[in-house]
């Protein structure tokens, strides 16, 4: 796969940052990502709706708990909460992939780890759409996203500590990863203040 799979988000009259915090829209967007990924790769997925709702509730509470309520930090916070969503999805994994399609190449990330790949592209795509709408910002993926070696490490690390998923998300999105306390927005802010050169990427 030379490009990341796209996501055509469900229609909404609300800003995406609001829509994504409604369970119905969130579920529709997630289901659409899986459908589009399935059409492109031949993979199949089964979603546990109840578990997905638990992931969503935990994420909402995480988002509210760490919200800095500082307009100057909005962009950095969108990056952070996107990574947080991925952490929660991988921690409580609400989907299960079916058997690989015939001829699937397991050296490609989507076949090497279908569930992790699906969750990651969903979070990356939603983040990209929100940043485009809120900041008119273009986003791109780093070469690491297309490296099986990275995905192998991502999978191993996330299995033992789901928080590390946030660091890998930052790597794929081109942000400066926070490995020490990835699930603390305060830590990110402190670090970006200490290293102004990193702020451009965060903010």
């Amino acid at each position: 796969m030379s490009d990341a799979p796209e996501l055509h988000l469900p229609a909404t009259s609300e800003p995406l940052r609001v829509a994504i915090r409604r369970l119905r829209w969130f579920r529709q967007a997630f289901a659409r990502q899986l459908d589009e990924l399935a059409a492109e790769t031949g993979l199949s997925f089964a979603v546990d709706d109840r578990r997905l709702a638990q992931v969503f509730v935990a994420w909402l509470r995480d988002v509210d708990a760490q919200n800095p309520h500082d307009p100057g930090q909005r962009r950095a916070y969108f990056d952070f909460v996107s990574a947080l969503m991925l952490r929660n999805l991988l921690r409580d994994m609400p989907l299960e992939a079916g058997p690989l399609p015939p001829g699937a190449d397991p050296s490609r990330a989507e076949y090497f780890w279908p569930e992790g790949f699906a969750c990651t592209v969903f979070c990356l795509n939603v983040r990209a759409a929100v940043l485009e709408q809120e900041f008119d910002a273009e986003t791109s993926l780093t070469p690491e996203f297309f490296s099986l070696r990275q995905w192998w490490s991502f999978r191993e690390n996330a299995a033992s500590d789901p928080n590390t998923a946030m660091g890998f998300f930052d790597v794929f999105a081109g942000n400066n990863p926070e490995w020490k306390l990835p699930d603390s927005f305060r830590q990110r802010l402190n670090r970006s203040l200490a290293a102004p050169e990193a702020q451009g990427r965060l903010g």
Binding site: R21, R22, L23, R24, R27, D49, R50, L52, A53, Q54, F56, V57, A58, L60
Partner: protein
């Protein structure tokens, strides 16, 4: 010719409850009969008699269902919980709560259930008399009133299935959350509201009125 006095409005909820109870009892009886009677093994005329009894029970259930259906008229959207004084608010709430609770229980996997519409109406009277605050406070009062005494009278789960813990609390919270989120479109919100409520089952188990109010306010914009 003397003009006739207008008839007082009929409270349909108890009549609907009777019809629904009858239907529920007949359906349950039919199920028990089917489970308990080895119809194939029965000799004649016992087999014919059992078949006829089941057919009669089904017809009775259908008639009771039709009666309940005939009585289902008027505005079936719940009143905004911020305006409990709206016209026919009690009856509209009771009918909507009945339908919503059934839909939420089905979402949880219940095979069938019996919900008291008159009990929901009584809960509305108690809660709106007591709360007198915001719609979130009304929802919290309604939640407690719908659970005690319980508006959900019977639930049948599939054989061998483990019912979700706190199913009653979950579905009552779900229905009220859906009504708070969008009274006009609450039916479409029931599946998502039920899944949200299930994820909050731990919070619901010991929540008092202020905690419930806070939970409603926390999640009403996230269905």
């Amino acid at each position: 010719m003397p003009s006739r006095l207008p008839l007082p409005p009929i409270d349909a909820a108890p009549i609907k409850d009777v019809a629904r109870s009858l239907r529920f009892a007949v359906e349950q009886g039919g199920r028990s009969l089917k489970k308990g009677l080895p119809l194939e093994a029965l000799p004649e005329p016992a087999a014919r008699l059992a078949d006829a009894a089941l057919a009669t029970a089904r017809r009775l259930g259908d008639r009771a269902g039709s009666l309940a259906h005939v009585l289902l008229d008027g505005d079936d959207t719940p009143p905004p919980l911020s305006h409990p004084e709206e016209a026919e608010a009690e009856a509209r709430f009771a009918a909507a709560a009945h339908d919503g609770l059934r839909a939420a229980l089905k979402r949880l996997g219940a095979e069938s259930c019996l919900v008291g519409e008159a009990a929901a109406a009584a809960a509305w009277r108690r809660a709106t008399r007591a709360s007198g605050g915001s719609d979130g406070a009304t929802a919290a009062a309604l939640y407690l009133a719908l659970l005690d005494p319980p508006a959900i009278r019977e639930v049948v789960w599939p054989e061998g299935a483990t019912p979700p813990a706190e199913a009653g609390r979950v579905v009552v919270f779900a229905v009220l959350l859906a009504m708070l989120a969008d009274p006009a479109g609450y039916r479409d919100l029931i599946p998502a509201a039920t899944d949200l409520a299930l994820a909050l089952a731990g919070d619901l188990s010991a929540a008092d009125a202020p905690a419930l109010h806070a939970l409603f306010d926390e999640f009403r914009n996230h269905v």
